[in-house]
Amino acid sequence: MTRTDNKKIKIGAFLFPLILLALGIGYSFYVVNYPQDKIVSNYVTYSKIFKLLSQHIGLVMASAGAAIVASVPLGIFLTRPKFKRFTNVVVGIVNVGQTVPSLAILALFVSFLGVGFKSGVFALWVYSLLPILNNTLAGILGVDKSILEAAKGMGMTATKILTKIELPIAYPVIMAGIRTAVTINIGTATLAAFIGAGGLGDLIIAGNNINRWQIVILGAVLSALLALLTDYLMSLFEDHLKNI
């Protein structure tokens, strides 16, 4: 890679998130300073936006983080020869969780976990498991058998084969699963507002109920920008790790 190429990428790396941030801040500024009526101006304030945004990020980070911590090791575990026979059962169970409508999961667990943050995180966690687990399995199982045979022939231990060969080769596929899960999670997290967990969904639901488009668009724009920005940061992180 030449020097100029490197520079171009760096400028791009700053420019894209800056544009997203500017859009988010710009639209928030517009709604707060030029509200369509008294109801909007009473409801939308900077501190409100900041509070809902941080609630949203908190929900996503907790649930997606827990899903990564659960799914990646589970995926590795299920690809070991001894445990391969459990793969279908486990994927089946996780799949069932995925097929139950997200709103239903939220409503069902409110009785056990209470209204608010905990139920929201749990439902989002269930929802993020499958894409990460599936991609971890696909990535590791997709490694060319002849490479594994060669490694075995060279006398590498199972652990070494995993860390030096299987995981590095599967890495892009696993990361793709994580990125998909987190991006979907940011959108789904708007539903957490139905069970008292707050987040940007508050803006969308309240705005829709009282028919104030400015508030609905604010919630939608901020969560869309958050998803784009997060996906972008994850891609940078992915490249960074690849280059190590």
């Binding site: 009526d37 008294k38 109801i39 009473n42 409801y43 509070k51 409503a107 409110v110 009785s111 209470g114 209204v115 608010g116 507002a193 139905f194 069970i195 008292g196 707050g198 508050d202 639901i205 309240a206 109920n209 009282i210 028919n211």
Partner: protein, 307 residues
Amino acid sequence: MIKKSKRVRSLVLTLVLLLIAVSLSACGGKDDNTIKIGSKEFTEQLLLGKITVIALEDAGFQVEDKTGVAGSDKVRLALENGDFSMYWEYTGTAWLSQLQHDDPITDPQEAYEKVRDEDANNGLIWLQYAPLNNTYTLMMRRADSEELGIKTISDLAEYINSNPGELRVAIDHEFSIRPDGYPGVQEHYGFSQGEDEIKIMDLGIMYKTLKEEQVDVAMGFATDGRIPAYDLVNLEDDKAFFPVYNAAPVVRSEVLENNPEIEDILQKIAVLLDTEAMMKLNYEVDINEREPEEVAREWLQSEELID
């Protein structure tokens, strides 16, 4: 040979039947005088819609059942552009959301007259309103209400002011933002709470959440059948903050001109529907899980409005 003639005969018969069916349905479709009855999607609205459908059918009108449309705005739009001939609307909802005023009215007659007069210009006629008032309410579990001696919203305000941080309150998104919603209640009754004590959630889980003691106070709708079923009590709005939400049939003016007898039928229904009666009907559907249509028919029969 026998087989063949049988087949021909059955073919002819099918064709004749098809022709009859098509011509019948064409007649039905071309009848401009069909009364299209709409409603919103929640229990009380379905009941009001079905009651109207059954009563008008019984009186010999050609009726089309279009009940169960989600969203006040969509229902109103359907009435305005003629997809509905009529539906039951609440005076408070029409005043605040559809006619976009921001001063809530707490007197039933005044609210009714104001929306009636303004909507007359829109070609919509508000008939006699029912005494039922499906207004917002603040609810508590009966045991708590008795133990803490909180019967009215003034009692609640006093309790919250002297025991800050103790009671958790559930409200929905709309109530958190409307001019006649929670911030207004706090201001009117003179109390305030920390943000963590107020949980904003979907209306659908509100009653259950209160029953399961995850919160201590929740907003609700005064005629909801779950209030008696879950042993909850409505706190009395002793300083008259909440606007009134009397239900009334709203009919397109040309429909009423062509079918003036409707007014008389609907008036007989409206006067009988008070908050208690409506709560009982809602209870039958929400708690006893019966079909709105069945409950509506049974009520009309018990009031001797139909045979």
